[in-house]
Symmetry: C2
Subunit: 323 residues, 2 copies
C-alpha cells in the first residue's frame, strides 16, 4: 500500500523547481514574485459526477484540472508561474496516479507552470487546483472594463465540447456523431486548450479591455462582463464560430451550442473598434483565430440577433451549479 | 433556491478588499506583493468523515478550515495576506452557509487575512483553502534547517485535541471526560488556535532555525524536520507540555497523546542553545508559552527518553491518510 508521503514523492515531487524558491515538502511553498508584477490567483474545484464522469481517464483529467485554471489566467492576461494541487482520492491507485500525473505535467511543462505544493487525502474524488500567474500592474483584463462601443470577440471555435457532452448524455446531436466526429469533439470536451498566449498578448499590448474565459457558455459568461461593466451588448449569434463538427449540424443546434454550450475554454473579450486589425494580427501571431461576434452597448441586457440583425429569443442561460 | 452566484454574493463577497487589488468576482484575484517579500503558499483540503465528523457545526468548521492553513503560514514564519476558498456542498443550505462564513471570517479578520477568490460547486462536502502570506527572503522557517545541537521546542500544550477525539470515538480517555473537560479539550480539537504571531516573531528575529506545525502528531511531524535536515533527535517525552485536561490523566496516556496525538496545531521548532532566553521571551511576548522538549543530534532517527533520560519504546507514529 502506497503511503501518503510515498505517493507525493513518487508521482508529484519532481526534481529542481525553477520558479519556486521552495517547492513541495515544507509547510508552505515559497515564491519570489517578479519585482513590480502583480500576482493573479485562481482556484477551481473539480468533482466527480459533476465536472467529469465517474471512471474518466486519469490523464485527461490531469490535463483538464490544470487547463481550466490556466484558462482563468489567460482570461486575465497573466503569465503562468505555478500551482498547488489538493487531491482527495478514494484509494491510492498507482495506474490512476501515474496517468493523472502524466496528463497534468505534460500541460504544466508546456506552459512552464510548476507544481509547488498541495495536499493529498482520502475521500470522494475531488481535484482542487489553485494557480498563480503574473501580470504587469494595470494590464490585467478585468471583467469590469468593457465600454459601450467595444467590439465583442471570441477566440477559436465554440460548441464542439457541448456536442461531445450531448453525445455522451444521449442529448440532441443532430445526426449521431461518427467515430471521427466523436474523437474531434471529444478532444474539446476532455482536453481543452487554454488560450494562454493570446490572453497574455492581448493584455501585454493593451489591445483588449475586458475578458472572461468561456466555461459556462457564452451567454452566461458574457453576462458577467456586462453586469460588472454596467453595460449591455448585442450578440450576432450567427457570427459565432462553430467548431468543425458542430458546423456540419443545422442552424438551430449551432445557435444553441455556440451561444450557450459550455466547456469551450475559449476567451471572450472586448476591444475598441480601432483595434480590429491589431486584434486579428494578435490572433494570427498566436495561431488562435479570433472572431468579432457583437458589440457592447450602453443599454443594459444581452440582446441576441441573427445574421440580418433580427432579434432572436433562444431562452439560453449560463450554467449554475446550484440551480 | 440559492443560485451559485447569489450564494457567493450573499455569504462570501465582502465589501472593500484592502490587501487585494482585485477580489472576488473576476477570473482571477490580483495581489500586489510587498516589494522584496517572498510569497508563502499552502493548501489544505478538509473532507467530511475524514478531517471532521458528518454534521459538524458549520461555524467551527469555518474556523478550522482557515486555522489549519494559518498554522502552515505560522510554521514558515509568514504573515497572512489572503486566501482562496473552494467549497463543494451537497446543497446550498442558508443556515450552514451563514454559520460557516461566520466562523471563517471571525478568524480571518483576527489575522487580517482576506478572502480573495475561490470556487463553489455541488458535491460531497469538501473544503479546500489555499492561503498566501509574506516573509522576508531568507527568514522563512524551513523544515530542512535544523542543526545538530539545536534545542527542540514546542509551543502551547499538546494532547487535549487528541483526548477530545478519543472521547468522541469511545477510545481511551482514562476517566470519562466531565462536561467541563469536554468543552476545554473540544475547543482544542474543533477550533484550534494557529500560532501566527509566534511564528512571525521567531522568523523575523531569526531566533529559530527549522519549524513545522503539529497536525499529525509530534513524533511524525518532527520526523519530517529530521529527515529533511539530515539529522536525528532525542525527545524528552516527559517534558512535553500536556494540555490542562490531559495533564490530569496518567503518565501512559499523557505520553501517547502528547507525543503522537495529532490536531494540536502548535509549532515545533529548533533553535540554537544560545537563543534559549530569547525564545522564552518571544513566547512570553506573544502570550504563547514555549517549552524545550529535546535536542537535535547528528545521529539519524528519533529517540524517545523519559524524565531521567532512559529510552522509551512507545511504538508511536504520525498519521498517514493512506495507511
Amino acid at each position: 500500500m502506497l503511503s501518503e508521503f510515498d505517493l507525493i514523492t513518487e508521482y508529484f515531487d519532481r526534481p529542481r523547481p525553477t520558479r519556486a524558491v521552495l517547492g513541495i515538502g515544507d509547510d508552505c511553498a515559497l515564491l519570489a514574485p517578479t519585482p513590480g508584477a502583480q500576482t493573479a490567483i485562481s482556484s477551481d474545484m473539480l468533482v466527480e459526477g459533476r465536472h467529469f464522469f465517474a471512471g474518466e481517464d486519469a490523464a485527461r483529467l490531469g490535463h483538464k484540472s490544470l487547463a481550466v485554471n490556466l484558462s482563468d489566467l489567460a482570461a486575465m492576461g497573466a503569465r503562468p508561474v505555478g500551482f498547488t494541487l489538493a487531491l482527495a482520492l478514494p484509494s491510492s491507485d498507482r495506474d490512476w496516479l501515474a496517468g493523472f500525473a502524466r496528463g497534468l505535467f505534460a500541460l504544466a511543462d508546456a506552459h512552464g507552470c510548476e507544481l509547488i505544493g498541495g495536499d493529498t487525502t482520502r475521500g470522494p474524488l475531488n481535484i482542487c487546483v489553485t494557480i498563480f500567474g503574473e501580470v504587469a500592474p494595470g494590464h490585467a483584463l478585468r471583467r469590469d472594463a468593457a465600454l459601450a462601443g467595444d467590439d465583442v470577440w471570441v477566440s477559436g471555435t465554440l460548441g464542439d465540447a457541448r456536442l461531445a457532452l450531448a453525445a455522451r448524455l444521449d442529448q440532441d446531436t443532430g445526426p449521431a456523431l461518427t467515430a471521427a466526429e466523436l474523437a474531434a469533439a471529444g478532444a474539446r470536451l476532455y482536453t481543452p486548450t487554454p488560450r494562454v498566449a493570446l490572453g497574455a498578448l492581448l493584455a501585454g499590448s493593451r489591445l483588449a479591455r475586458a475578458a472572461i474565459d468561456l466555461s459556462d457558455g457564452l451567454v452566461g459568461d458574457l453576462g458577467h462582463i456586462l453586469k460588472r461593466s454596467g453595460v449591455g451588448a448585442t450578440l450576432d449569434v450567427d457570427a459565432l464560430p462553430a467548431g468543425p463538427v458542430l458546423a456540419t449540424r443545422d442552424i438551430a443546434l449551432r445557435r444553441r451550442y455556440t451561444a450557450a454550450g459550455g466547456d469551450d475554454y475559449e476567451l471572450c473579450f472586448t476591444a475598441p473598434v480601432s483595434a480590429r486589425e491589431a486584434v486579428l494580427a494578435a490572433g494570427a501571431r498566436c495561431g488562435t483565430p479570433v472572431t468579432r461576434v457583437g458589440r457592447i452597448e450602453a443599454e443594459p441586457g444581452l440582446r441576441l440577433a441573427d445574421a440580418v440583425g433580427a432579434a432572436l429569443d433562444l431562452q439560453l442561460r449560463g450554467f449554475d451549479h446550484f440551480s
